[in-house]
């Protein structure tokens, strides 16, 4: 990816939640880069820290959580050092976010048009008229018919799939350099999911917008992204080109995750299962976080946390047993 300019660079990010019972580390030394227009999939089970990472980039971690360490450089500027006011100018402008529930973005008492125009006016020195023009254009681009009429409607007049389209249109308003989509299609039916993902893929491609797709669904990630980062218990355990990781996973967790999918086993056969459950943030073991479930676990895995480093297969993985 050296041929493309760097858009986002996350280094050694640690996010902690300070609770009465003690500090919980939700994200532990996460590092990754994203080139301009690149699509990255952040994959993992619930509680792996993928959403927290996404929120962390936008500095949207709510109390008692806090970024305690690390740097996030976006378009050459350090986001962790920014004031709330500077951050606001980046959020919804240079970086947009799409949530699982479209109603997180949409205000139920305002028309779609009002919301889109207000968003634009907040970020760009343009007239209301120009803003409406842009809004119409974006509604058009997400393949919604009769945009003029749609702008005057309220969110409740749309179906779930339509709402998510509108959220994408809003995300595109300011032509951001990066979209962070957190499980954007998890609540939708498969036929609509495919439509929405295709739209997202198409738009990111044509507009050269970077995308971080946060999801638990490996198949979805494999269809949309160029690179994958697999998260487990707050850390990235493996990252590399999408096709390569799907075909030839290196880390035992990634291998287990892929093997557990019914697609990879003949119908009716026993599925390969990873024993046990992912430890919550308060029970992450010393050494490799996966050591409680790993069949190959050795002595060193219980004491030393493996760094994320290049492996022979061409990916980065955090495992002592590879090389």
């Amino acid at each position: 990816m050296a041929d493309r300019d760097n858009l986002l660079s996350v280094k050694d990010l640690i996010i902690r939640f300070q609770l009465r019972q003690g500090a919980l580390t939700a994200v532990n030394r996460v590092s990754f880069d994203l080139a301009k227009g690149e699509r990255l999939g952040l994959v993992g089970e619930s509680g792996a820290g993928k959403s927290v990472t996404g929120f962390g980039i936008l500095n949207l971690i709510s109390k008692p959580g806090r970024i305690t360490h690390g740097s996030i450089r976006f378009e050459g500027r350090e986001l962790t050092q920014m004031s709330e006011e500077e951050m606001r100018r980046i959020r919804g402008n240079r970086i947009s976010m799409i949530f699982q529930d479209p109603m997180m973005t949409l205000n139920p008492v305002l028309t779609i048009g009002t919301q889109m125009v207000e968003t634009l006016l907040a970020h760009k020195p343009i007239s209301r008229r120009e803003a409406t023009e842009i809004a119409l254009d974006r509604i058009n681009r997400v393949s919604i018919s009769s945009p003029q009429k749609r702008l005057e409607q309220y969110p409740h007049e749309f179906s779930g799939g339509m709402r998510q389209r509108i959220v994408i249109a809003i995300a595109l308003l300011t032509s951001p350099a990066l979209i962070i989509a957190d499980e954007p299609t998890t609540a939708l039916d498969v036929t609509i999911q495919a439509d929405i993902l295709e739209l997202l893929l198409h738009l990111c491609d044509t507009e050269k917008t970077g995308l971080i797709l946060i999801t638990h669904d490996l198949a979805v990630v494999s269809q949309v992204t160029e690179r994958i980062a697999v998260m487990y218990a707050g850390t990235i355990v493996e990252t590399g080109a999408t096709g390569q990781i799907i075909r030839n996973p290196q880390h035992p967790y990634t291998q287990g995750l892929l093997a557990a999918l019914p697609q990879n086993v003949p119908a009716g056969g026993r599925l390969k299962q990873i024993p046990g459950v992912m430890p919550g943030p308060s029970r992450i073991p010393a050494g490799c976080p996966f050591n409680t479930r790993c069949a190959l676990c050795e002595e060193v895995c219980r004491t030393v946390q493996p760094p994320l480093e290049p492996k022979q297969a061409g990916c980065l993985a955090a495992c002592h047993l590879l090389n």
Partner: protein
Amino acid sequence: MPRKTLISIQNVVKHFDISGGWLDQLKFSGGRLVRRKTVVRAVNDVSLDIEQGETLSVVGESGCGKSTLARTVMRLYPPDSGQVLYRGQRIDNLSSSDMKTYRTRMQMVFQDPYASLNPRMSVRQILEEPIRFLRGTLRRDEIQEAVAAIMLQVGVDPDWRDRYPHEFSGGQRQRISIARALAVDPEFIVADEPIAALDVSIQAQILNLMMDLQQERGLTYMFISHDLSVVKHISSRVAVMYLGTVCELARAGTVFQSPRHPYTQALLSAIPRLGEQGFRHERLKGDVPTPIQLPSGCVFHGRCRYADGRCVKEIPRLRQVDEQTMTACHAVEEGRI
């Protein structure tokens, strides 16, 4: 090999009146006050047979009536019309005391492992309740033995029987939920999206457990799911539902290899595919209509590219198109597809 029909669902219709109380039904229309009911037509004239020992999956998107159908079979809802037969005996009109004998033969596993276990009851209480109620002849120690045995079988340590549901992970809870269904030793289990709320690595554990139990106990499953890759893996037959009707019923292998109904084709083309870049799915036009105002004729006609005049007017019936497949589609029947 001819198999015995265990459950027979015949022309089941289930509608829900959601218009609320009498006062809420009053509406102004054309300057006059009229009383109008709002009815959700969740299941419309569905007929299915479930054979002993098989896994019949019912798939479809949200709102297609698959969960309602499952609950009607379990008699959580009485059908508005039609019948449900268990080994040839009609059970949809039984009194609750007559139904009691069937409760030991058919049980249900639910979707949400966080809502399906009573948070105020310990695992022991949860598992003992059905045994006490439905197998009343057992002695105290026999009940305890049964609970321990069933916990072992689903893979939950019996030493944890006095713990409460919130002390368990989602996967463990789903195991307990399965144990509760198995506690009365049923032969038929309705599983309503049993793995939809679980993480991938846990899904595999639960699916394996369900398949193992089926082998050990000769269980028959009615498996409700929207996850087609899971359905493909565990089913012997698949029924595809759309807006309250079954549009295709076939052997699992056949459905996934050569779907006949246009909706099934679109649905299958949209499954996310591992290791494939981009999308090649068939795009459906428009949105799913609401089950409050069902389209005339074939419920799919508004989104179907093969629809013609007949589809708008006449409701297609589920017909055998070849040895493996039944579909409800005029176009398939006429050979247009």
